[in-house]
């Protein structure tokens, strides 16, 4: 078991973040890119993360992070929809184009099981995920191109892997032990994203 890490500042960047995402069409193999900027703001005890396209002026997605009964709550709202959905401890949205997934980075063990619950039309839809923390050597992190040039990431590094109930990889995020934002992420829908600027 890896030692538990203290990530009081995870998903709490001090300033704007810039992220590059690459989307691979699973059928055709073609790729498209998007540049994102994440603008954090604090509202009372809540941390708000606004996800914009780099050249956009309206957020595509807005997260509000707060604690309730010692549990992390994540309120998520996408552009163009009325509904605000509150998740607990984990936000995994493999269908959603914006790299805004929030993982339980401060889980005590290296493996944990989490459920996401979404309501629609009066019914609740439940998905169960297994999250596994796995150390990654600096050579591999660098050699695989997961860390962009110019991003300060001294390490050590580890992945948080999210698996579905069948054990298939849904999402993984690469973290620097001292970072407040992931360095790299990829998900089952063909999206790969890199932290380009910020997050130190």
């Amino acid at each position: 078991m890896l030692p538990p890490v203290a990530h009081g500042e995870a998903y709490h960047p001090e300033g704007a973040l810039h992220i590059l995402s690459e989307y691979r069409e699973l059928r055709s193999g073609s790729t498209r890119k998007a540049n994102w900027k994440v603008l954090p703001e604090d509202l009372d005890a809540h941390r708000i993360l606004n996800f914009y396209l780099a050249d956009g002026n309206e957020p595509l997605c807005k997260l509000m992070l707060f604690h309730e009964k010692d549990k992390l709550k994540i309120q998520w709202q996408a552009r163009g929809v009325r509904k605000k959905t509150v998740f607990e401890e984990i936000l995994v949205l493999p269908d959603f184009p914006v790299p805004c997934d929030i993982l339980p980075i401060d889980m005590d063990e290296n493996t944990g099981t989490f459920k996401t619950r979404r309501e629609a039309g009066g019914r609740w839809f439940v998905t169960t995920y297994k999250v596994v923390r796995k150390e990654v050597g600096p050579q591999e992190a660098m050699g695989q191109g997961w860390i962009r040039a110019g991003v300060k990431a001294p390490g050590p590094f580890y992945f948080l892997n999210v698996l579905d109930s069948s054990g298939n990889m849904v999402l993984r995020q690469l973290w620097d032990d001292n970072g407040n934002w992931w360095l790299y992420e990829e998900n089952v829908s063909g999206r790969r994203s890199w932290l380009v600027e910020g997050g130190e």
Partner: protein, 812 residues
């Protein structure tokens, strides 16, 4: 959002129906192998939707957007099912629009054009994309988007390799709860894309799916499986667009949205009658369209109305009435049966009304309207090779003139656009403008061939054009129309001496037979050309092009019509340092005048004579001041069909001590002839200016120099020549006017001209330093019934160089 929920309390079965707030629109899926968006294949041909966008944006097509599409998207080898169905579906899902055709800057954007552009604007959307092969996911999307959000979403409705995307906007669902399972039968309604691009509204289709959802102990959905036929036939990818994006760098989403929202046309300004002035209008009929045609009594109105909506549906009815409401014409206009009316105005204004019985599907139609007014002046050539082209429009009369217009025409003689007016020109008002200042539409620039000034009464209209560094040309039409004209200069294709171009224009409202005989300078028939020229049509003369593939260097063209219909023509001859323009010369037998012969030291006065007869023709040059003394005469004997150039400055360019100094030269032929005179520097360098030989029809009791460059006159000089063609002594008052049209009385002078004498001067010599106040100059004969003739000449004053490299002028 429609919501119907019906509970069946005795069982655990219930049903519900929900529909999105907006029903998505059907659109075409534009297969890649045809590239219809860029080529019009499968639609209405050219211009295709992207070509129209280029046309609107850049003024031509194919432009950057079309080229990009053909480079990046078009794939003739693509599987036949590859296309824009997913992009259409995202657009239809995202954009709550009702499409109508509209006319944008006179370009018709049909429903298919707009939907096509909107489809491309969504080919790279930021979108939620989910795995619809999982029934629990599909169920979540139906409930979340359609029921909760009131929004449609995109679905590929079967799991085959081929992707066919549609927009689900409604579902009818029956659910049965049994233990830890929930059985679902759902019928989804979706918008289809198997429609013609111009389809308006939504073609609805439905599909049925069955599945079972798995519930945990708390009744929450944790998974599911397809049942029945849906095991093999069920949705695949699901998409919900969040933001419109396109991969094209040349397509502006906001502009596409503006186009998509636009409807009707630019002549619509509410429920009022709109003025209709000469031009060609591409318009939409969405309700009754009413127009007022302002014209003057005696004007000829030529009106064409065509139906262009591509359908054989109901006709458009057109009714034309006069001021009192009397019906002048009525027509039911079908696609193959346009309305064509030529009417002389007796009781103007006219009123035109266009209607149809059913407006549910808008009609597209075109109006061409031309008005022949009492006074027209033609500018037959618009330079498009980087030259500037400037105009001076002057009302030199004593009262204002209303309804003055400047209209562009294409080579077919169709009016394109009225680019100036109708305006009221106050007495003495002069307007100066460049062609680029006029509000022509960029996509009609290339087809714009000529300009016509229309007015109820005479005004002066001068056009100067040229390069910034060298060369200048001038067009002032005067009365140069007729049934028999001469294009006096042609050049061989690819000649080392320069270029020649020209045209003949049918000035009538009927088709005419045109006979053009091309002769060498020596009078040998080189080519015979017969052409039918449509009303108002312009027939271009460009050596090397049809039908002038071969042309004799230095030759000329005899132009005649079979009908008694007026034609005009022009030529432009240019070389590196020279540009000279002339209207086609009239052929007649009357006496001609050369109004000024330059002294031989610096200038050449050259006369070009043409004998349009199959017999010899002796042309006699006679100084008018010599009276019956013919000792100074010059005889030129022209052979049949011969053209000859004669330099006369040594013969007639007398100095001030000579008794015949400043005598006009009279030219008389044994037979009809044509000709022009030219001034050029004897160095052989510099520009040159040619003028038709003056004739009796050109003489009047008052003449106008339409433009003096005033305060800018340090760069230019303006010369004027006035002569007395009569047998009586005449006193001519020279009246300079300022920019406000006020007479500068103290700068005026009087000229006393003996019969046959002329006077030449520079305008700047009038009033010294105050000459810069002069805007235009009138020359008025004091004696009632007296006649004068004249010309003017503009030249530049090159700094430190004794050379006039820009020279142009006209007869007054």
């Amino acid at each position: 959002m429609l919501c119907i929920v019906a509970f069946t309390p005795v069982s655990t079965a219930w049903s519900e129906t929900h529909e999105a707030d907006a029903v998505p629109w059907s659109g075409y899926w534009w297969p890649f192998y045809r590239a219809g968006l860029a080529t019009g294949s499968g639609y209405l041909g050219h211009p295709a939707p992207l070509e129209k966008y280029d046309l609107l944006t850049y003024g031509f097509y194919p432009g950057r957007l079309t080229s990009w599409y053909l480079q990046e998207i078009y794939d003739p080898d693509a599987p036949t099912w590859w296309g824009h169905c997913g992009d259409w579906a995202q657009a239809a899902c995202f954009e709550n629009l009702q499409f109508f055709p509209s006319s944008e800057d006179n370009i018709i954007f049909r429903v298919g054009d707009k939907k096509g552009l909107m489809t491309l604007a969504h080919n790279n959307d930021i979108a939620v994309r989910a795995d619809g092969t999982r029934p629990d996911v599909f169920h979540y999307w139906l409930l979340n988007y359609v029921k909760d959000e009131g929004k449609a979403f995109v679905a590929d409705l079967d799991p085959d390799d081929e992707v066919w995307s549609y927009v689900i906007f409604k579902y009818d669902m029956n659910k049965t709860n049994s233990g830890n399972t929930l059985s679902v039968v759902v019928k989804v309604s979706y918008a289809d894309d198997m429609v013609f691009p111009d389809y308006m509204g939504t073609q609805v289709r439905t599909a049925n799916f069955t599945y079972t959802l798995f519930l945990d102990d708390t009744g929450e959905i944790v998974g599911g499986e397809w049942t029945g036929n849906s095991i093999g036939e069920h949705p695949d990818q699901l998409t919900f667009p969040l933001m419109a994006r396109t991969t094209s760098p040349d397509l502006d989403y906001e502009e596409v949205l503006r186009l998509a929202r636009s409807k009707d046309d630019f002549l619509e300004a509410g429920d009022t009658e709109e003025p209709l002035i000469p031009g060609t209008y591409n318009l939409i009929l969405m309700d009754e369209d009413r127009y007022e045609i302002s014209c003057s009594q005696g004007d000829t109105v030529v009106l064409d109305v065509e139906k262009l909506d591509g359908s054989q549906e109901e006709e458009v009815s057109a009714v034309l009435t006069d001021r009192e409401g009397a019906m002048l014409a009525r027509a039911d206009i079908f696609e193959e049966d346009p309305m064509h009316i030529i009417v002389t105005a007796q009781d103007p204004p006219f009123h035109l009304s266009l209607t149809r019985q059913d407006y549910s599907r808008p009609s597209i139609y075109r109006i061409k309207i031309d008005i022949k007014k009492a006074f027209a002046r033609e500018i037959p050539y618009i330079p498009k090779n980087g030259m500037w082209s400037g105009f001076a429009l002057t009302n030199y009369g004593d009262s204002s003139i209303d309804g003055v217009m400047l209209t562009t025409y294409n080579a077919q003689g169709d009016p394109v656009q009225t680019v100036l007016g109708p305006v009221e020109l106050q007495a003495g008002e002069k307007q100066l403008f460049f062609f680029d200042d006029l509000g022509w539409r960029i996509h009609e620039y290339q087809e714009t061939e000529r300009l016509v000034l229309l007015s109820d009464r005479p005004v002066s209209f001068l056009n100067l054009f040229g390069n910034n560094d060298t060369r200048m040309g001038c067009f002032v039409q005067g009365q140069k129309k007729g049934t028999h004209l001469v294009i006096p200069d042609v050049m061989a294709p690819m000649s080392m001496d320069g270029n020649m171009s020209g045209a003949v224009i049918n000035e009538s409202v009927q088709d005419i037979q045109l006979i053009m005989d091309v002769y060498t300078e020596d009078g040998v028939l080189f080519n015979e050309i017969d052409e039918v020229l449509g009303k108002g049509e312009k027939f271009s003369i460009v050596p090397g092009n049809y039908p002038f593939y071969s042309m004799p260097q230095g030759g000329w063209i005899d132009v005649e019509t079979v009908e008694d219909a007026q034609i005009s023509g022009y030529q432009s001859v240019s070389s590196v340092q020279r540009l000279d323009t002339l209207f086609a010369l009239p052929v007649n037998a009357g006496q001609r005048i050369i109004p000024h012969v330059t002294p031989p030291e610096r200038w050449i006065t050259r006369v070009t004579l043409i004998n349009p007869n199959h017999e010899e023709n002796r042309i006699k040059f006679h100084p008018a001041l010599a009276g019956e003394d013919h000792s100074q005469d010059l005889d030129i004997l022209l052979g049949p069909w011969e053209k000859r150039k004669v330099e006369i400055q040594e013969w007639f360019g007398w100095n001030s001590q000579d008794p015949f100094f400043h005598s006009v030269i009279e030219l008389n032929g044994e037979r009809t002839f044509a000709g022009y005179y030219t001034y050029l520097e004897s160095s052989g360098l510099g520009d040159e200016a040619g003028f038709p030989l003056l004739e009796e029809a050109d003489f009047r009791s008052d003449l106008v120099l339409p433009h003096y460059s005033g305060e800018n006159n340090t760069a230019w000089w303006t010369g004027v020549g006035i002569f007395n063609p009569s047998s009586e002594k005449e006193t001519v008052t020279v009246e300079p006017y300022d920019r406000e049209g006020e007479l500068l009385e103290d700068l005026g002078i009087q000229l006393h001209l003996n019969p046959g004498a002329y006077h030449v001067m520079f305008v700047r010599s009038m009033g010294g330093a105050r000459a810069k106040e002069i805007s235009f100059v009138k020359f008025v004969v004091e004696e009632p019934g007296g006649l004068i003739g004249g010309f003017y000449l503009y030249g530049n004053r090159s700094d430190g160089m004794d050379l006039t490299d820009r020279l142009a002028g006209a007869n007054m």
